[in-house]
Protein backbone atom coordinates (compact mmCIF):
# COMPACT_ATOMS: atom_id res chain seq x y z
CA UNK A 1 0.00 0.00 0.00
CA UNK A 2 1.41 3.34 -1.05
CA UNK A 3 1.58 5.83 1.81
CA UNK A 4 2.96 9.29 2.48
CA UNK A 5 6.53 9.14 3.69
CA UNK A 6 7.28 5.88 1.87
CA UNK A 7 10.83 5.84 0.48
CA UNK A 8 11.87 4.80 -3.00
CA UNK A 9 14.90 2.56 -2.85
CA UNK A 10 17.89 4.81 -3.64
CA UNK A 11 19.53 4.05 -6.98
CA UNK A 12 23.06 4.81 -8.12
CA UNK A 13 23.74 5.29 -11.81
CA UNK A 14 27.23 5.48 -13.27
CA UNK A 15 27.67 7.90 -16.17
CA UNK A 16 30.69 7.67 -18.46
CA UNK A 17 31.72 9.55 -21.60
CA UNK A 18 30.56 6.59 -23.66
CA UNK A 19 27.08 6.95 -22.13
CA UNK A 20 26.97 10.61 -23.16
CA UNK A 21 27.97 9.81 -26.73
CA UNK A 22 25.29 7.15 -26.91
CA UNK A 23 22.67 9.49 -25.45
CA UNK A 24 23.67 12.23 -27.89
CA UNK A 25 23.02 9.86 -30.76
CA UNK A 26 19.73 8.52 -29.42
CA UNK A 27 18.32 11.92 -28.45
CA UNK A 28 19.69 14.02 -31.30
CA UNK A 29 21.32 16.50 -28.88
CA UNK A 30 24.84 16.85 -30.29
CA UNK A 31 25.84 19.96 -28.33
CA UNK A 32 29.66 19.54 -28.07
CA UNK A 33 29.74 20.52 -24.37
CA UNK A 34 28.51 16.95 -23.80
CA UNK A 35 31.44 15.25 -25.53
CA UNK A 36 34.21 17.76 -26.28
CA UNK A 37 36.42 19.11 -23.44
CA UNK A 38 37.81 21.88 -25.60
CA UNK A 39 34.32 23.33 -26.19
CA UNK A 40 33.18 22.75 -22.61
CA UNK A 41 36.16 24.60 -21.15
CA UNK A 42 35.84 27.41 -23.71
CA UNK A 43 32.31 28.21 -22.46
CA UNK A 44 33.44 28.22 -18.84
CA UNK A 45 32.55 24.70 -17.71
CA UNK A 46 35.01 22.57 -15.71
CA UNK A 47 34.84 19.94 -18.46
CA UNK A 48 32.36 17.82 -20.38
CA UNK A 49 28.99 17.67 -18.63
CA UNK A 50 26.08 15.26 -18.96
CA UNK A 51 22.99 16.36 -20.88
CA UNK A 52 20.49 17.67 -18.33
CA UNK A 53 17.91 15.51 -20.08
CA UNK A 54 20.12 12.46 -19.53
CA UNK A 55 20.21 13.11 -15.77
CA UNK A 56 16.45 13.67 -15.86
CA UNK A 57 16.02 10.35 -17.67
CA UNK A 58 18.10 8.53 -15.02
CA UNK A 59 15.98 10.03 -12.25
CA UNK A 60 12.86 8.85 -14.10
CA UNK A 61 14.24 5.31 -14.05
CA UNK A 62 14.02 5.30 -10.27
CA UNK A 63 10.40 6.46 -10.56
CA UNK A 64 9.28 3.95 -13.19
CA UNK A 65 11.05 1.11 -11.34
CA UNK A 66 8.93 2.01 -8.33
CA UNK A 67 5.70 2.51 -10.31
CA UNK A 68 5.91 -0.76 -12.25
CA UNK A 69 4.19 0.61 -15.35
CA UNK A 70 6.21 3.46 -16.94
CA UNK A 71 2.93 4.57 -18.53
CA UNK A 72 1.58 5.48 -15.09
CA UNK A 73 3.69 8.66 -14.98
CA UNK A 74 1.30 11.55 -15.59
CA UNK A 75 3.56 14.46 -14.71
CA UNK A 76 7.31 14.89 -14.36
CA UNK A 77 9.36 18.03 -13.91
CA UNK A 78 12.80 19.13 -12.72
CA UNK A 79 14.99 22.19 -12.33
CA UNK A 80 18.63 21.82 -13.34
CA UNK A 81 20.77 23.36 -10.60
CA UNK A 82 24.30 22.01 -11.11
CA UNK A 83 25.95 20.27 -14.03
CA UNK A 84 27.04 16.63 -13.76
CA UNK A 85 30.71 16.78 -14.74
CA UNK A 86 31.81 13.53 -16.41
CA UNK A 87 35.58 12.95 -16.31
CA UNK A 88 37.36 11.28 -19.21
CA UNK A 89 38.13 8.04 -17.38
CA UNK A 90 36.64 4.57 -16.97
CA UNK A 91 34.86 5.45 -13.73
CA UNK A 92 32.88 8.49 -14.91
CA UNK A 93 30.44 10.18 -12.52
CA UNK A 94 27.86 8.71 -10.16
CA UNK A 95 24.32 10.06 -10.01
CA UNK A 96 22.36 9.04 -6.92
CA UNK A 97 18.56 9.17 -6.99
CA UNK A 98 16.45 8.94 -3.85
CA UNK A 99 12.76 9.64 -3.49
CA UNK A 100 9.86 9.83 -1.10
CA UNK A 101 6.08 9.77 -1.50
CA UNK A 102 5.12 13.32 -0.55
CA UNK A 103 1.37 13.10 -1.12
CA UNK A 104 -1.35 10.66 -2.15
CA UNK A 105 -4.56 12.17 -3.43
CA UNK A 106 -7.39 10.77 -5.55
CA UNK A 107 -5.35 7.84 -6.82
CA UNK A 108 -2.29 9.91 -7.65
CA UNK A 109 1.01 9.73 -5.76
CA UNK A 110 3.42 12.63 -5.79
CA UNK A 111 7.07 11.58 -5.58
CA UNK A 112 9.73 14.09 -4.59
CA UNK A 113 13.19 13.14 -5.81
CA UNK A 114 16.62 14.02 -4.47
CA UNK A 115 19.24 13.72 -7.17
CA UNK A 116 22.90 14.22 -6.30
CA UNK A 117 26.35 13.84 -7.78
CA UNK A 118 29.42 13.88 -5.51
CA UNK A 119 27.13 14.87 -2.66
CA UNK A 120 25.75 17.95 -4.42
CA UNK A 121 22.20 18.40 -5.63
CA UNK A 122 22.09 18.46 -9.42
CA UNK A 123 18.29 18.65 -9.72
CA UNK A 124 15.84 20.66 -7.64
CA UNK A 125 12.05 20.57 -7.51
CA UNK A 126 12.30 17.13 -9.08
CA UNK A 127 8.78 15.78 -8.88
CA UNK A 128 6.71 13.09 -10.52
CA UNK A 129 3.03 12.26 -10.30
CA UNK A 130 2.06 8.61 -10.67
CA UNK A 131 -1.40 7.19 -11.28
CA UNK A 132 -1.87 4.38 -8.78
Amino acid sequence: MVHVGQDLAPQTYRVTRADLVRYAGASGDFNPIHWNDRTAVAVGLPGVIAHGMFTMALAARAVTAWAGDPGAVIEYGVRFTKPVVVPDDDHGAEVVVAGVVRAVDEGVAQIDLTVTCSGEKVLAQARAKIRL
Partner: protein, 148 residues
Protein backbone atom coordinates in the same frame (compact mmCIF):
# COMPACT_ATOMS: atom_id res chain seq x y z
CA UNK B 1 17.34 42.22 -21.82
CA UNK B 2 18.87 40.47 -24.82
CA UNK B 3 15.68 38.60 -25.78
CA UNK B 4 12.88 40.34 -27.64
CA UNK B 5 9.91 40.28 -25.21
CA UNK B 6 7.43 40.71 -28.07
CA UNK B 7 7.95 37.00 -28.80
CA UNK B 8 5.74 36.07 -25.83
CA UNK B 9 2.58 34.40 -27.11
CA UNK B 10 4.07 33.64 -30.49
CA UNK B 11 3.36 30.18 -31.87
CA UNK B 12 5.18 28.32 -34.59
CA UNK B 13 3.48 26.31 -37.34
CA UNK B 14 2.90 22.59 -36.64
CA UNK B 15 5.90 20.40 -37.40
CA UNK B 16 5.85 17.62 -39.98
CA UNK B 17 4.68 14.37 -38.34
CA UNK B 18 7.42 12.38 -36.58
CA UNK B 19 6.80 8.65 -36.96
CA UNK B 20 7.71 6.91 -33.68
CA UNK B 21 9.17 3.46 -34.33
CA UNK B 22 9.82 0.51 -32.04
CA UNK B 23 13.54 0.51 -32.78
CA UNK B 24 13.88 4.25 -31.99
CA UNK B 25 12.22 3.65 -28.63
CA UNK B 26 14.54 0.69 -28.00
CA UNK B 27 17.58 2.80 -28.94
CA UNK B 28 16.51 5.60 -26.58
CA UNK B 29 15.75 3.15 -23.74
CA UNK B 30 19.15 1.49 -24.24
CA UNK B 31 20.87 4.89 -24.17
CA UNK B 32 19.38 5.75 -20.77
CA UNK B 33 19.96 2.22 -19.48
CA UNK B 34 16.24 1.58 -18.94
CA UNK B 35 15.48 -2.13 -19.20
CA UNK B 36 11.69 -2.12 -18.69
CA UNK B 37 10.16 -4.70 -21.05
CA UNK B 38 7.24 -2.31 -21.83
CA UNK B 39 9.75 -0.31 -23.93
CA UNK B 40 10.64 -3.38 -26.02
CA UNK B 41 8.04 -6.12 -25.91
CA UNK B 42 4.60 -5.38 -27.44
CA UNK B 43 3.07 -8.25 -25.44
CA UNK B 44 4.22 -6.76 -22.13
CA UNK B 45 2.99 -3.31 -23.19
CA UNK B 46 -0.36 -4.85 -24.18
CA UNK B 47 -0.69 -6.51 -20.77
CA UNK B 48 -0.36 -3.01 -19.25
CA UNK B 49 -3.09 -1.73 -21.58
CA UNK B 50 -0.93 -0.10 -24.26
CA UNK B 51 -1.56 -0.87 -27.96
CA UNK B 52 2.19 -1.02 -28.70
CA UNK B 53 5.51 -0.56 -26.92
CA UNK B 54 5.67 2.72 -25.00
CA UNK B 55 8.50 5.24 -24.75
CA UNK B 56 10.31 6.36 -21.57
CA UNK B 57 8.92 9.53 -19.92
CA UNK B 58 11.61 11.86 -21.28
CA UNK B 59 11.45 10.50 -24.86
CA UNK B 60 9.24 13.40 -26.08
CA UNK B 61 12.31 15.71 -26.05
CA UNK B 62 13.47 13.87 -29.16
CA UNK B 63 10.63 15.58 -31.03
CA UNK B 64 10.18 18.80 -29.01
CA UNK B 65 13.83 19.84 -29.16
CA UNK B 66 13.72 19.70 -32.94
CA UNK B 67 10.39 21.56 -32.90
CA UNK B 68 11.89 24.43 -30.87
CA UNK B 69 14.81 24.84 -33.25
CA UNK B 70 12.93 27.28 -35.51
CA UNK B 71 12.39 29.56 -32.53
CA UNK B 72 15.94 29.24 -31.16
CA UNK B 73 17.40 29.97 -34.59
CA UNK B 74 15.14 33.00 -35.23
CA UNK B 75 17.64 35.89 -35.37
CA UNK B 76 14.91 38.35 -34.32
CA UNK B 77 14.62 36.63 -30.92
CA UNK B 78 18.25 37.50 -30.14
CA UNK B 79 19.20 34.28 -28.37
CA UNK B 80 22.97 33.63 -28.08
CA UNK B 81 22.99 29.83 -27.98
CA UNK B 82 26.56 29.63 -26.69
CA UNK B 83 25.34 31.22 -23.43
CA UNK B 84 22.33 28.96 -22.99
CA UNK B 85 21.89 26.43 -20.22
CA UNK B 86 18.85 24.26 -19.58
CA UNK B 87 16.90 25.68 -16.64
CA UNK B 88 13.74 23.64 -16.16
CA UNK B 89 11.92 20.85 -17.92
CA UNK B 90 8.42 19.54 -17.34
CA UNK B 91 6.07 17.04 -18.96
CA UNK B 92 2.31 16.61 -18.45
CA UNK B 93 1.15 13.40 -20.08
CA UNK B 94 -2.27 12.51 -21.43
CA UNK B 95 -0.77 9.12 -22.24
CA UNK B 96 2.72 7.76 -22.95
CA UNK B 97 4.18 8.12 -26.43
CA UNK B 98 4.07 4.76 -28.20
CA UNK B 99 5.32 3.08 -31.34
CA UNK B 100 3.11 3.89 -34.30
CA UNK B 101 2.44 7.47 -33.16
CA UNK B 102 2.80 10.17 -35.78
CA UNK B 103 3.59 13.17 -33.59
CA UNK B 104 3.03 16.81 -34.49
CA UNK B 105 4.38 19.63 -32.30
CA UNK B 106 3.14 23.19 -31.87
CA UNK B 107 5.49 25.38 -29.83
CA UNK B 108 4.50 28.64 -28.16
CA UNK B 109 6.67 31.14 -26.32
CA UNK B 110 5.06 31.21 -22.89
CA UNK B 111 7.34 33.57 -21.00
CA UNK B 112 10.38 35.79 -21.43
CA UNK B 113 11.83 37.42 -18.35
CA UNK B 114 15.04 38.85 -16.97
CA UNK B 115 16.34 38.33 -13.45
CA UNK B 116 19.71 38.64 -11.79
CA UNK B 117 21.40 39.52 -15.07
CA UNK B 118 20.11 36.41 -16.83
CA UNK B 119 17.33 36.02 -19.38
CA UNK B 120 14.77 33.23 -19.17
CA UNK B 121 12.80 31.79 -22.07
CA UNK B 122 9.96 29.35 -21.44
CA UNK B 123 8.41 27.42 -24.29
CA UNK B 124 5.35 25.18 -24.22
CA UNK B 125 5.06 22.48 -26.85
CA UNK B 126 1.78 20.70 -27.43
CA UNK B 127 2.49 17.23 -28.77
CA UNK B 128 -0.40 15.47 -30.50
CA UNK B 129 -0.87 12.77 -33.12
CA UNK B 130 -1.52 13.86 -36.68
CA UNK B 131 -5.10 12.70 -36.08
CA UNK B 132 -5.39 15.37 -33.37
CA UNK B 133 -5.16 13.18 -30.25
CA UNK B 134 -3.34 15.07 -27.49
CA UNK B 135 -0.39 13.09 -26.06
CA UNK B 136 1.83 15.29 -23.90
CA UNK B 137 2.51 18.94 -23.10
CA UNK B 138 6.17 19.83 -22.67
CA UNK B 139 7.57 22.94 -21.00
CA UNK B 140 11.20 23.88 -21.38
CA UNK B 141 12.93 26.82 -19.79
CA UNK B 142 16.25 28.01 -21.13
CA UNK B 143 18.54 30.36 -19.23
CA UNK B 144 20.68 32.78 -21.20
CA UNK B 145 23.57 33.62 -18.90
CA UNK B 146 24.38 37.32 -18.65
CA UNK B 147 27.68 38.75 -19.85
CA UNK B 148 28.56 39.77 -16.26
Amino acid sequence: MALDPSFVGRSYPPTEPYAVGREKIREFADAIGADEPAYRDPAVAAALGHPDVIAPPTFPVVVTMAANQALIDDPALGLDYSRVVHGDQRFAYVRPVRAGDRLVCVSTVEEIMSRGGHDFLTTRTEVATDAGERVVTVWSRLVVRGEG
